[in-house]
């Protein structure tokens, strides 16, 4: 699509949407959001960019082969499941650590669900973007 307006706007939009997707990913455990939704938003941003600039630029934006991204995401998610096994917990048990916790405040909570969500995020971004790239290249 050769539209100056669209391609200018899409560059703005892709940054905003990627940022928003990370925000959604981050708040996923206490509020609506999470890896899947964040991934969809990120993929939507990449697709908007791809519609304006074409599939080749989309690949450039992703930097890695979308299939590799999917599989890295899968490995990440599985890693989050395996971590608790090392401590004799069941597979996929949520394990948390609290950075800077005080008596009243839990501080910064980081846990295996976050790793799992990042994996889901990567799978969704890679999967959806890969599908659209393949279709765009086809047409």
């Amino acid at each position: 699509m050769n539209s100056l307006i669209f391609s200018t706007i899409s560059r703005l939009l892709v940054g905003l949407m990627l940022l928003f997707s990370v925000f959604l990913l981050w708040r996923g455990h206490n509020e609506p959001g999470g890896g899947f939704i964040g991934g969809l938003v990120a993929a939507a941003g990449i697709i908007v960019y791809g519609l304006a600039e074409g599939p080749a630029m989309m690949r450039k934006l992703l930097r890695v082969n979308p299939r590799t991204l999917v599989l890295i995401g899968l490995l990440t998610a599985m890693f989050a499941g395996i971590l608790p096994l090392l401590q004799d917990n069941a597979f996929l048990t949520g394990m948390w650590m609290f950075i800077g916790a005080t008596a009243t405040d839990k501080g910064l909570a980081l846990g295996t669900p976050l790793i799992f969500d990042i994996g889901v995020y990567l799978v969704v971004v890679g999967g959806v973007a890969g599908m659209v790239i393949a279709l765009e290249e086809e047409l």
């Binding site: 299939r67 590799t68 599989l71 890295i72 899968l74 490995l75 599985m78 499941g81 395996i82 608790p84 096994l85 917990n89 069941a90 597979f91 996929l92 048990t93 949520g94």
Partner: protein, 535 residues
């Protein structure tokens, strides 16, 4: 102990990812995949040993206790099937090295193959109905990918039918699960088995049971809903066909066994009758379909359908004896189907075609290989002392116990008829002299070619399976073929252990109290008694 169940799921998935990410070389990808499935086989054997010694093993995902969390459970049936699946996975991985084109491997063949195996493993291991649906989808999506990978026209044509009917079955399965959840408020299979008898509206339960029957029946290619299987299987590379034929339909049968013994047990005489009728019809249809075709792969595809019928008979008769026969048949069926398709692949390579009319003279060229085929074919037919004989004998024995002369007659009749298509392959591809036929055809096709040329007529479709020229099979192809033949022979000569195992698997299917105790250690005993009375 807990780790084993998880490992059965994780190993294929990690292999899928690692084999694709770590390298671009087709050889290395294959090697990673083989290593992964080798490890899987070891774990599966350890698991089977543990289950055979110490009873079912279960594991709660995420530490949420049943029935809240997702349960993984391996009882004897699951453990047997997991070992067999791992054997097939290893053989297909080895076979694929010589069979699958580099282009397909670059597209992620080994990734999808391993994800398919993960899906099958998950379906065998899960104790949660919705989780079963999810694993079915993992399996289905990977099979779709394998179906169209490197696709040419014919492959896409077969894929459309396969995808369409399987998606409908998926929706039916989802609907049935939703309705069952609405009736009982639980998805854990052990919990369901205690709550379903308490549901007031048993008519609705029967409706849900029929929905499950249809959904799993489509997956298993049962009689009226079989047509997607012969329409698609022969369009694929042999490695893919082998794994599909060996595993995909059997997962459907496994799911039928599980749901109809655990969730809808007891005297559903109408459903049992239906299963028996479907079994007989599927069997007869499979063997007659096989007779009408002249492409080796299509003949074998119809035999896949036929063998589904035998397993349905075992399930329909409904006693522990019959169920044990069905389980034995399943193990035999998985191994023999993988073996026969791999042999068909070698025939295709050696003869340059899968069309019986254009093959011939293989016995003169390769007597040893011909014996391998003969053994596998005779085993499928059920000639003593090969594995198929014991499988069919057990089903007939169960039929005798149930006083079902019609069943016995049809089993014997179908076994006899199975002779015809297989002996046709034998006489056409192996005994018939070769050069005359092929050369006449090739002379008709292109008159400028010399008559003594070994090249068969040029092939219009671009399938790599239908090799345009006669080629020697890759040397790797022999390992899985010989390995599987040895296993089939061993089962044939020493069936005792497997019969014992499948009998104990059947007993625990028919009386699921140990299964229930493993999943729900604190289940109320009153309900337990009620459930045992039901048996």
């Amino acid at each position: 102990m807990n780790g084993l169940l998880i490992a059965c799921l994780l190993i294929p998935m990690i292999t899928a990812a690692v084999s694709f990410i770590s390298t671009n070389s087709a050889k290395l990808r294959g090697a990673t995949s083989i290593a992964g499935s080798g490890l899987l086989l070891m774990i599966a054997i350890i698991l089977l040993y543990q289950v055979a010694i110490g009873g079912p093993v279960s594991n709660q995902m995420g530490g949420w206790q049943a029935p809240m969390g997702i349960t993984l459970i391996a009882d004897t049936l699951s453990a047997i099937l997991i070992v067999v699946t791992a054997i097939v996975a290893l053989s297909v991985n080895i076979y694929a090295i010589g069979d699958i084109s580099e282009e397909r491997i670059a597209g992620g063949f080994f990734t999808f193959l391993n994800m398919l195996i993960a899906g099958v493993m998950g379906a065998f291991l899960t104790g949660d109905l919705f989780n079963l649906y999810v694993w079915f989808e993992v399996m289905l999506i990977s099979s779709f990918a394998l179906l169209v990978l490197g696709g040419n026209k014919v492959q896409l044509d077969g894929a459309v039918k396969y995808v369409a009917i399987n998606l409908i079955s998926t929706v039916l399965l989802l609907t049935a699960i939703g309705l069952l959840y609405g009736l009982t408020g639980t998805l854990n299979m052990a919990d369901l088995s205690m709550r379903v008898p308490q549901v007031e509206n048993q008519a609705l339960v029967a409706v849900v049971a029929v929905l499950f029957l249809i959904a799993f029946g489509i997956k298993a290619a049962v009689f009226p809903l079989y047509f997607w299987l012969p329409a698609s299987y022969h369009t694929l590379p042999i490695s893919v066909t082998a794994v599909f034929a060996a595993l995909m339909t059997k997962v459907g049968i496994y799911a039928l066994m599980r749901t109809f013994t655990l969730i809808f047990p007891g005297e559903h005489s109408a459903i049992d009758m239906t299963l028996l009728c479907l079994g007989v019809l599927t069997m007869i249809l499979g063997v007659f379909g096989a007779m009408t075709h002249s492409d080796i792969r299509r003949i074998l595809a119809f035999h896949v359908i036929g063998s589904i019928g035998f397993m349905l008979l075992g399930l329909g008769l409904g006693s522990a004896l019959a169920m044990g026969a069905a389980i034995f048949y399943m193990v035999h069926g998985i191994l023999i189907k993988a073996l026969l398709f791999m042999i068909a692949g070698i025939i295709g390579k050696l003869g340059g075609s899968f069309e019986l009319s254009r093959l011939g003279g293989l016995y003169q060229e390769r007597p040893g290989f011909s014996i391998l085929f003969l053994l596998a074919a005779l085993s499928l037919i059920g000639i003593p002392p090969l594995s198929g004989f014991w499988a069919k004998l057990l089903i007939i024995e169960a039929g005798l116990h149930h006083d079902a002369p019609l069943i016995i007659t049809s089993v014997i009749l179908v076994s006899l008829l199975t002779f015809i298509p297989l002996i046709r392959i034998w006489s056409e591809a192996f005994w018939k002299p070769k050069p005359l036929d092929v050369e006449l055809l090739s002379a008709e096709q292109s008159s400028d070619e010399p008559l003594d040329s070994k090249t068969p007529p040029s092939v219009a479709t671009g399938t790599e399976v239908v090799a345009p020229s006669i080629s020697l099979p890759n040397k790797y192809a022999w390992f899985p073929v010989i390995g599987l033949s040895i296993i089939v022979l061993l089962i044939g000569f020493f069936p005792g252990n497997l019969i014992k195992l499948s009998d104990s698997a059947a007993k625990s299917l028919m009386n699921p109290s140990t299964y229930l105790d493993t999943v729900l250690p604190n289940r109320p005993s009153v309900k337990a008694n009620a459930n045992e009375v039901q048996q």
